[in-house]
């Protein structure tokens, strides 16, 4: 009964979204505040309906209600309870429902955040957002109904795909979707601006927290997915330039550019048209990501959806929204007034360079991901575009961008001074160069990329904090004064510094992976193998039984120079219901480095295949990403963005009379 109610709630939400789309738009056209006022309550009603539907499906999973097709296909009565819940979005229908839920949630937040958004902008924004809700609810109801019943109900379900039964994968999709869908708000704001033909610093200030929030979640989502791939897939890689990874990287790159261009717009009232275009593109890339993953176009294992009808519908949604928004942009953008002049050498100039390089990087990932599909569709020729292509094309774009970051942070607004900036960065540059040279000398014969990359990372970390130092330290004043000033700096400055330092930390982690060592061997009990400075001895292999799997666990004792450091346990599991094996890597963390063991297969003579890796500083890759996201969150708590925070009364500005 609850299942049918959930289905009904989705249909109701579709109807309400249509109202949320049409009525407020009519209101802003006719300047009717009552019609505009319809937007917020309907957005909340849509949220309630979708939330109810999601709750109903979750309850069906929790109770293992095998009369629901979706539950049969993705659950099992012996599955651990946490994976019964996360199984809700571990499949196509459920994950699309989660997508819509997050969409409705963002709509609800816009509706409640009264002080953050001017009423007219809010009405238009909610209307545009409702159009997306309509499309995806329609898609869900027409092609991917999660509430389909089966009669007679089977006694047992088919279990969730074992690789999805993992805490990492349980939170990866929600984080990623909050990121993707969060950009729908930036998109809706951009559309609202185009509809009204009006865009200003108020708009930029209103749109920035949403972009920032989405970016924070997307960053965490991508990092989570990468770490999951690292420990779950069992060969120690953490980024594969897989189309599905690229699908999340593209909105991230565009979103990062958007974040920086809104800063210019808010502070200096410049780059308006470009910012609107970026907001459109960022969400378009989020939609494209959804399309790539959900339509099965990649014939990838990521695509739980193998039904081509779904692909066609998502492609239709993609064309309508991207085509429609770009058409609206082409028609209305000339109405938006350009403003804010600045010299090429200035903070704005540096941010423009940031946007240029990020846009180039994003297009590179875009063409590399879609070119093989397009070529095959057009000529039938099949080519592969893999990691070697992206490493060759993407890195030369990213490295100049990273080199630019500390300069951009040090340059003044409007008109900067390159010489003075370089002087202020001299200590940082010098330290990074010395560190690189020392590392090169220490590792002669090793890979050159690692010391160079680590030097770049150090330069980024120090360069970021340099902003705090130059803004708080002055000669002759004491240390106490400097600390006080540093504490008084706006949260958004600290956020920038932390996020950029996080990039540096990630760069160090990536560079150090050139030093990782791999040993492949066949081992019997008592055998020892070495990876870097660590030695592992195979102690025992024991069979065990879990709730819904059986496994063989290999226990290894890890020593360094004869002293024991710890133990790693790697297992080979067989999930009984699906008869699917998985490998659980054994990871021993030492500081930010890891010893990583992966179980191959048991051979007939009792020996087992083992891969042992030493991965120095590897954790910095994800630690840096978390610092980036944390920086974004700190920025979000800046006084300017706090929803409902009292705004300091400004002294009335005396406008200069225009010169005759």
């Amino acid at each position: 009964m609850l299942v049918e109610a959930g289905h009904f709630a989705l249909a109701l939400a579709l109807g309400l979204s249509l109202i949320q789309f049409a009525v407020p738009l009519w209101g802003t056209r006719t300047n009717d505040p009552v019609l505009m006022g319809v937007a917020a309550p309907t957005a909340l009603a849509v949220l309630a309906c979708v939330g109810f539907a999601f709750g109903a499906l979750t309850l069906a999973y929790a109770n293992s209600d095998f009369s629901v097709l979706n539950v049969i296909q993705n659950s099992h009565s012996t599955k651990p309870f946490i994976y019964k819940i996360t199984g809700v979005w571990g499949n196509h229908e459920g994950s699309m429902l989660l997508w819509v839920l997050i969409l409705a949630l963002f709509g609800g937040i816009v509706a409640v955040a009264k002080n953050a958004v001017p009423p007219r902008l809010r009405a238009n924004t909610l209307a545009v957002q409702a159009s997306i809700t309509v499309a995806f609810l329609g898609f869900l109801l027409a092609t991917s109904n999660p509430f389909t019943r089966v009669f007679p109900a089977p006694l047992e379900g088919q279990d969730l795909n074992p690789v999805l039964q993992d805490p990492g994968l349980a939170i990866h999709p929600p984080l990623l979707y909050i990121g993707y869908v969060g950009f729908s708000i930036s998109f809706a704001f951009a559309m609202a601006a185009l509809i009204d033909g009006r865009i200003d610093a108020v708009w930029a200030r209103a749109v920035r927290p949403w972009t920032l929030g989405a970016w924070v979640f997307l960053t965490l989502g991508i990092a989570m997915g990468s770490y999951w791939a690292y420990y779950e897939l069992g060969w120690g890689g953490w980024w594969f330039w897989d189309p599905v990874e690229n699908a999340s990287l593209m909105p991230w790159l565009a979103g990062t550019a958007l974040l920086h261009s809104t800063v210019v717009m808010e502070r200096r009232d410049a780059l308006k048209v470009w910012t609107v275009l970026l907001a459109i593109l960022t969400f378009s890339l989020s939609l494209l990501g959804t399309f790539l993953v959900r339509s099965g176009v990649l014939t990838s294992v990521h695509s739980f959806a193998v039904d081509p009808a779904r692909g066609v519908v998502i492609l239709g949604i993609l064309i309508v929204f991207i085509g429609g928004s770009l058409a609206l942009f082409a028609w209305r953008a000339p109405l938006l007034q350009q403003g804010g002049l600045f010299a090429p050498v200035s903070r704005e100039g540096a941010l423009v360079m940031n946007n240029l390089l990020l846009a180039t990087g994003c297009s590179t990932v875009f063409i590399g991901t879609l070119y093989p599909l397009a070529l095959e569709a057009l000529t039938g020729e099949k080519i592969s575009v893999g990691a070697p292509f992206f490493n060759l094309t993407f890195l030369p774009i990213v490295i100049p961008l990273l080199l630019l970051v500390p300069f951009g942070q040090t340059l003044a607004w409007k008109r900067g001074d390159l010489l003075g900036t370089s002087q202020r960065l001299l200590a940082v540059l010098g330290f990074a160069i010395v560190a690189t040279l020392v590392l090169l000398a220490l590792t002669i014969g090793g890979p050159v990329a690692a010391p160079l990359g680590i030097g770049l990372g150090i330069y980024l970390v120090l360069g970021s904090f340099n902003e705090i130092v130059t803004r708080s330290w002055s000669r002759g004043r004491g240390f106490g004064v400097a600390v006080q000033r540093a504490r008084g700096l706006p949260r958004s400055t600290w956020g920038t510094v932390l996020a950029h330092a996080g990039v540096g930390v990630t760069v160090i982690g990536i560079a150090a992976s050139a030093w990782s060592i791999e040993t492949i061997a066949t081992m019997k009990i008592g055998d020892r193998i070495k990876a870097g400075p660590y030695e592992a001895r195979l102690e025992r292999v024991v069979p065990r039984t879990g709730p819904n799997f059986r496994e063989d666990a290999a226990l290894m004792r890890v020593t360094r120079d004869g002293h024991e450091v710890g133990t790693v346990e790697t297992t080979k599991r067989l999930y009984v219901t699906r008869n699917m094996p998985t490998t659980e890597a054994g990871i021993l963390t030492i500081g930010t480095s890891q010893v990583y063991a992966s179980f191959g297969d048991a051979l007939e003579d009792g020996s087992i295949g083992v891969r042992l890796y030493y991965k120095p500083l590897i954790l910095l890759i994800w630690l840096g990403s978390v610092i980036m996201a944390f920086g974004g969150a700190v920025s979000l708590t800046d006084r300017r963005f706090r929803i409902g925070a009292p705004v300091k009364a400004r002294a009335p500005q005396t406008t200069l009379a225009p010169a005759e």
Binding site: L341, I367, P388, T393, M580
Partner: protein, 156 residues
């Protein structure tokens, strides 16, 4: 959810050990093995989703790895090995596509976007100061003439 299908298929098809590079495949000569790994990382496992033969557990990937090592042992250069594999399996096997007419747009897009963007910025920067450019002699003369006329009219 990344690429478990191919390894799984491999596991289901063959009951034997399933592992990317296996201990028995490794060449004795470390230099040759290093080259084999480098070549393998650039060759696609044909039955997998965007996975190199070096990473893949599929039996076909193993065959290719062994093939690469055999060619290297018989004295082929890296290029010879790649050419040999491409001749047998087609261009699809290369994870880094060749530079040719059919991949022109793929390789040139980064440069095109960067230079178009840079050109756009250059023209934007060039144009902006022009808005505030001082009047040239002819314009100045025209302005003064207009002003004189206006003053004369006012005086009337």
């Amino acid at each position: 959810m990344r690429r478990w299908l191919a390894p799984l298929l491999a596991l289901m098809l063959v009951a034997g050990p399933a592992f990317a590079v296996q201990p028995d495949e490794i060449l004795k000569d470390p230099a040759l093995e290093r080259r084999a790994r480098d070549i393998s990382a650039g060759l696609r496992c044909l039955v997998c989703q965007n996975q190199s033969i070096d990473d893949s557990d599929a039996p076909l990937a193993k065959d290719l790895r062994v093939l690469v090592r055999e060619r290297l042992k018989s004295g082929d250069s890296d290029r010879d090995v790649r050419d040999y594999v491409v001749a047998r399996y087609g261009e699809f096997v290369l994870l880094r596509p060749v530079f040719g007419l059919h991949t022109l747009l793929l390789w040139l897009t980064p440069i095109l976007v960067l230079s178009l963007g840079a050109f756009g910025l250059y023209t934007a920067v060039r144009q902006r100061p022009a808005q505030a450019k001082p009047l040239d002699a002819a314009e100045q003369a025209a302005l003064e003439r207009l002003l004189r006329e206006r003053r004369r009219q006012d005086a009337v």
